[in-house]
């Protein structure tokens, strides 16, 4: 079989019960992360999830130690996840507390909490490694995630939890959208903004905890950030953005997990993250809405329009033009000859620009309440905004044709 056949096999869930479960779970997890991540991203707090994910580590270790102390095996996944959830909740509350109660900004609080909790986690890991029990706890897999050799019971736990989480995001979507879109308005309509923010962070926390085993605590942040950023390039509307982020996140999770199941040297977490990044890159460059290429083209076109207009008005007044870009634009459009003298079209276009300028000036001084003034941008001809009758009326009131040309 070629690698592509492997890929198809994995994609269509022929690769075995476990990998199918993992792929479905990763897909659901990605979808939930896309939704939750969008709310956090719109509140401009994307990196809080980094603090949340790093502060899971001491919880995992403490849960392990507690379970061993109680005579258990220590590796029971639900117990470890509960521990991680508790310690990341503490981390989250600490970030909030530091940012609210001291003069430190939120990014400093995030950096402090993530590094210190992570450091504490590493200390606890070395404690576990040297425990007299001597067995490998395998907790390192929480750093980078590992789906290879996952127990079926673990895969089921993750798939079910991810499905429940996706449902939770769906249920909470309305208040979260409202707050993300306009917190002041939301507060005015009786939504508790602080609680809603905490709910969004709570969802992110659950994504992190469930994602630990699949993508690992360092990379789970990507699931919360990248789909939301990607969706932002395609729409300006919050509800559509949430939907798109859910789709992007789900696709990245599912595809990534499926691809990684095809070979041993393709770790799940990194593949999911890189898949999501590929989607981001394509969107950032080529989206017609906010993509880099289209924005650059728009700005360039706009700049040329401004220079063209300025050049035409200079022609009307018989002023010399020195600006390189203005000359280039006028020449390219056939409005002036090489030696700088206006062509026939150039003179016609200049007269038209001058007429439009005069019309705008008249409307701006005489019709101060006219809603058309809201559309004034220096470039749009008045002709395009008023009816022929209105233009004729404006023209009647212009001082005199000589005054224009």
């Amino acid at each position: 079989m070629t690698p592509f056949d492997h890929f198809l096999e994995a994609l269509t869930l022929q690769g075995g019960y476990n990998s199918a479960l993992v792929a479905i779970g990763a897909g659901l997890l990605g979808a939930a992360a896309g939704g939750a991540g969008t709310f956090i991203f719109l509140r401009r707090r994307a990196l809080i999830s980094d603090a949340v994910s790093h502060s899971t580590l001491p919880g995992v270790c403490l849960a392990f130690l507690a379970m061993v102390a109680l005579g258990g095996d220590g590796r029971w996944l639900p117990g470890l996840l509960l521990g991680s959830a508790l310690s990341s909740l503490v981390g989250l509350l600490m970030v909030e507390w530091i940012a609210r109660r001291t003069r430190l900004s939120e990014d400093a609080a995030i950096g402090a909490v993530l590094s210190v909790f992570f450091g504490l986690g590493i200390v606890l890991l070395t404690v576990i490694q040297t425990l007299s029990t001597g067995r490998q706890a395998g907790l390192q897999t929480f750093l980078l995630g590992s789906t290879a050799g996952m127990l079926t019971s673990e895969a089921v736990t993750i798939a079910v939890a991810a499905a429940l989480l996706a449902v939770l995001v769906f249920v909470l979507r309305r208040p979260l959208t409202l707050v993300a879109f306009d917190p002041d308005f939301a507060a005015a309509t009786g939504v508790n903004v602080r609680h809603t923010d905490l709910a969004a962070m709570g969802l992110a926390l659950l994504v992190t905890v469930i994602g630990l085993k699949v993508v690992g605590l360092i990379l789970v942040v990507a699931l919360l950030i990248i789909p939301a950023v990607t969706a932002r390039f395609w729409t300006d509307q919050v509800s559509r953005m949430v939907l798109l982020a859910v789709l992007f996140g789900g696709a990245a999770g599912y595809l990534g997990a499926a691809v990684s199941a095809t070979a041993a040297a393709l770790p799940t977490g990194p593949i999911i993250v890189l898949t999501a990044f590929a989607g981001f890159l394509v969107s950032a460059l080529f989206s017609p809405v906010r993509g880099v290429v289209s924005a650059a083209l728009r700005r360039r076109r706009f700049q040329r329009q401004v220079h063209r207009r300025q050049g035409l008005l200079a022609l009307v007044r018989g002023e010399p033009i020195y600006d390189g870009l203005t000359l280039q634009v006028l020449r390219r459009d056939g409005l002036i000859r090489r030696d700088g003298v206006a062509t026939l079209e150039g003179r016609a276009a200049a007269a038209k620009a001058a007429l439009d300028e005069a019309r705008w000036s008249l409307v701006r001084s005489e019709r101060a309440d006219d809603p058309v003034l809201e559309r004034y941008d220096g470039l749009t001809p008045l002709e395009d905004l008023l009816t022929a009758d209105e233009i004729a009326e404006v023209d009647r009131r212009l001082p005199s044709p000589e005054g224009v040309a």
């Binding site: 924005a295 700049q303 010399p320 020195y322 600006d323 203005t326 001084s365 101060a368």
Partner: protein, 269 residues
């Protein structure tokens, strides 16, 4: 409006009154993305005058200053200061940004901020000496803030912060002062103090330009006015330019006619 850039490639100025102007702006456009904030503005501000830049919110007043200073990129246009391209005359210009544009929780004392105005005098790498501190203290004295020199800047009121910014500009000992909303949100005493200092500066032959939001004081404080709303509406002496027609033109339906007339008539009061 809008003749194009007039600095010839040879670097020679075309004489359109710019050689004698403190600040001359020609065809300046500034945009954020593909939407203009300032569209092809010309302005010529003579030496020794005090000009208010007036216009509705979002009309591009601050963007005009920032574009002129090169703090934000220009889409088109040229700016000269005392007949020289801006870069060559930078040392003769003092800029006072909006108070809200900086983090007042920064760990610095009042005197430290004023010393920043002496940056060009002190030069690279070297630290401020006793002479510099004396100059800074003198500037604080002029805005009545000397007693606050050792205070942390975050502990000041809004008006006091604005006076510190003004003292920093004074320390620059410039010939052209560009101030972005120096009177926004300050108390009446501060407003009087700031205007008094600016009028002293003008009396010494320097040129002052303020973005100004309070129409009722334009005629009282300034001798020239530049009205803009995206593009320029009018510029000139307050007596001939700050008129009902021009204000209507600038603000459109946003000002009640009766109010506008009152403002224009009430000038010189």
């Amino acid at each position: 409006m809008a003749p194009v850039e007039l600095i010839a490639r040879s670097g020679e100025l075309v004489d359109d009154g710019r050689k004698d102007a403190a600040l001359a702006i020609r065809g300046l456009s500034v945009s954020y993305g593909a939407k203009a904030a300032v569209f092809s503005v010309d302005a010529t501000l003579p030496l020794g005058t005090m000009t208010a830049i007036v216009g509705p919110n979002g009309a591009g007043k601050s963007s005009l200053l920032k574009g002129a200073l090169g703090v934000v990129p220009r889409l088109s246009g040229e700016v000269t200061v005392f007949g020289r391209p801006f870069k060559e005359a930078r040392h003769r210009v003092a800029y006072v940004p909006q108070r809200a544009s900086v983090d007042w929780d920064f760990p610095a004392r009042v005197i430290d901020v004023v010393l920043m105005g002496l940056y060009r005098k002190i030069g690279w790498v070297r630290l401020a000496g006793r002479k510099h501190r004396e100059t800074a203290m003198a500037c604080l004295e002029r805005v009545n803030m000397a007693e606050f020199a050792e205070r942390q800047i975050g502990q000041l009121s809004g008006g006091q912060q604005q006076r510190v910014f003004l003292a920093r500009a004074l320390a620059q000992d410039a010939d052209l002062y560009l101030l972005d909303e120096p009177l926004a949100g300050v108390d009446a005493a501060t407003e009087r103090a700031i205007i008094a200092v600016l009028q002293e500066v003008k009396a010494a032959g320097r040129t002052v330009v303020c973005v100004h939001h309070d129409l009722s004081t334009v005629a009282q404080y300034f001798d020239r006015v530049l009205l803009i709303n995206l593009s320029k509406v009018a510029e000139g002496p307050v007596e001939t330019t700050f008129t009902v027609e021009n204000l209507q033109h600038t603000y459109g339906g946003r000002l009640a006619t009766a109010h506008v007339e009152e403002l224009a008539l009430g000038r010189g009061a």
